[in-house]
């Protein structure tokens, strides 16, 4: 439990730090960090219930996308502003690194294992972002219908 709290706090720090590197305004940095922390909480929670990487990354990407959309609407800005810090904990950079290292040092087992994991991670993230787009689409359609009725 304590380790998980530390991980969430470190994720907050990493996302806020990268937020500044991405040029996010200082007043928005705490929210950027919060996005990273919440993404990590969702990731840890999903990991403990679902062993499949595609499934838990799908749910985490979905949560990150929806959270970024929600905060963007509340603060009247772009969802990208919060999405980039939110996905920092989800980036499968370690898998890509080990995959390429495996190829370069001719360790086939390391390369293939990580390549499959990497493809799975990309699939999970991609499906998560697609789901966010679908939700967004239906939200816009619903809003337009509401406006049409009001007129």
């Amino acid at each position: 439990m304590l380790r998980n709290i530390v991980i969430v706090l470190l994720s907050f720090g990493a996302s806020a730090g990268f937020g500044l590197v991405f040029g996010i305004e200082t007043k928005r940095l705490p929210l950027a960090g919060l996005c990273g922390a919440i993404s990590r909480i969702v990731l840890i929670t999903c990991q403990s219930f679902i062993p499949n990487r595609v499934a838990y990354l799908f749910l985490s990407a979905l949560a990150a996308g929806l959270l970024a959309d929600f905060l963007a609407k509340r603060t009247k800005t772009l969802s990208t502003m919060y999405l980039y810090p939110a996905v920092v904990p989800l980036i499968p950079g370690d898998l890509l690194y080990y995959m390429i290292t495996g190829f370069l040092i001719r360790n086939q087992e390391l390369a293939i294992t990580n390549a499959l994991e990497f493809v799975g991670a990309l699939a999970g993230l991609g499906l998560g972002f697609s789901a966010v787009n679908i939700v967004r689409h239906y939200e816009i359609v619903h809003k337009r219908k509401g406006n049409a009725k009001a007129n």
């Binding site: 990268f18 991405f22 996905v87 370069l104 991609g126």
Partner: protein, 261 residues
């Protein structure tokens, strides 16, 4: 809605192309940029809009109500993500679509929106160091590894700045290869000086500093959101960049590692 003359159509087209260029340059997603351009076309009554967009290229042709058509294309130089600028460009795009100001005012408004003072280099370097210290902690790094990160990040930043200055620019591949080699070499040498420091934690943290994480995410988003060509190109770029980075780390391990890999 006032009908645009031929000259005004050209000016609006110029504005849209420059807006797209600036948005993509500042790190906007392709979908958001396309959306901004389509909305502007709609607001100014332009029809038959044909937009071909990649992260590095934009081509746009439009027709006004009287049937005059115009076409422009541009390449997009690679630059760092700049969210503050992107926010201002997004606000401008919304304002233009809502109020449709006179076309002659569009380019000055765009120039004003692009004027953003970035954070000073030292602040970015400090933030990156703090972020990587957190990542090092996430990879189970302890007090023995943290000083190495405080050393590696500023040195790599300075080297990167020196070799990418205007007039000296050696290209992204050489920059990343050199940065990875320096980061890897410093990690190996540090671990020789400080017994007990974990070289793998330092290597993976250094790799995270250089691996293009956001482009990985954007490429996947592009593929799943209908921009498959751009997604595939971006993914290929990510793989090439990662091969370069890992290559630099492997060479440093071969030189200074003493069989660490």
């Amino acid at each position: 809605m006032k009908l645009l003359t031929e000259k005004e159509t050209g000016v609006v087209l110029d504005y849209m192309l420059n807006l797209g260029k600036q948005m993509l340059g500042a790190g906007a997603s392709l979908e958001r940029t396309q959306d901004a351009i389509y909305r502007t076309c709609h607001a100014y009554g332009l029809v038959d809009v044909s937009l071909y967009a990649l992260s590095s290229f934009l081509s746009l042709s439009v027709k006004n109500a009287s049937g005059f058509s115009a076409h422009e294309q541009t390449t997009i130089p690679k630059s760092a993500i700049q969210m503050k600028k992107l926010d201002q460009l997004n606000s401008l795009s919304r304002e233009v679509c809502a109020t449709t100001p006179a076309p002659s005012r569009l380019l000055p408004m765009l120039t004003k929106a692009c004027h953003v003072t970035p954070y000073p280099r030292w602040a970015v370097c400090l933030a990156q160091t703090a972020a990587l210290l957190c990542l090092c902690g996430l990879f189970n790094g302890g007090l023995k590894e943290l000083p190495a990160i405080c050393l590696i990040v500023p040195i790599c930043n300075v080297v990167s700045w020196l070799i990418t200055r205007p007039g000296v620019d050696v290209g992204k591949v050489v920059n990343e290869l050199l940065s990875a080699f320096i980061a890897g070499s410093l990690s190996m040498l540090y671990c020789r000086l400080v017994p007990g420091a974990d070289v793998y934690i330092l290597l993976i943290t250094s790799a995270f500093m250089l691996i293009p994480g956001i482009p990985i995410i954007n490429s996947v988003r592009n593929v799943m959101c209908g921009n498959e060509v751009n997604g595939a190109i971006e993914l290929m770029k990510v793989v090439v960049e990662t091969v370069t980075i890992v290559g630099g780390l492997v060479v440093s391990a071969a030189v200074f590692g003493g069989g660490v890999l």
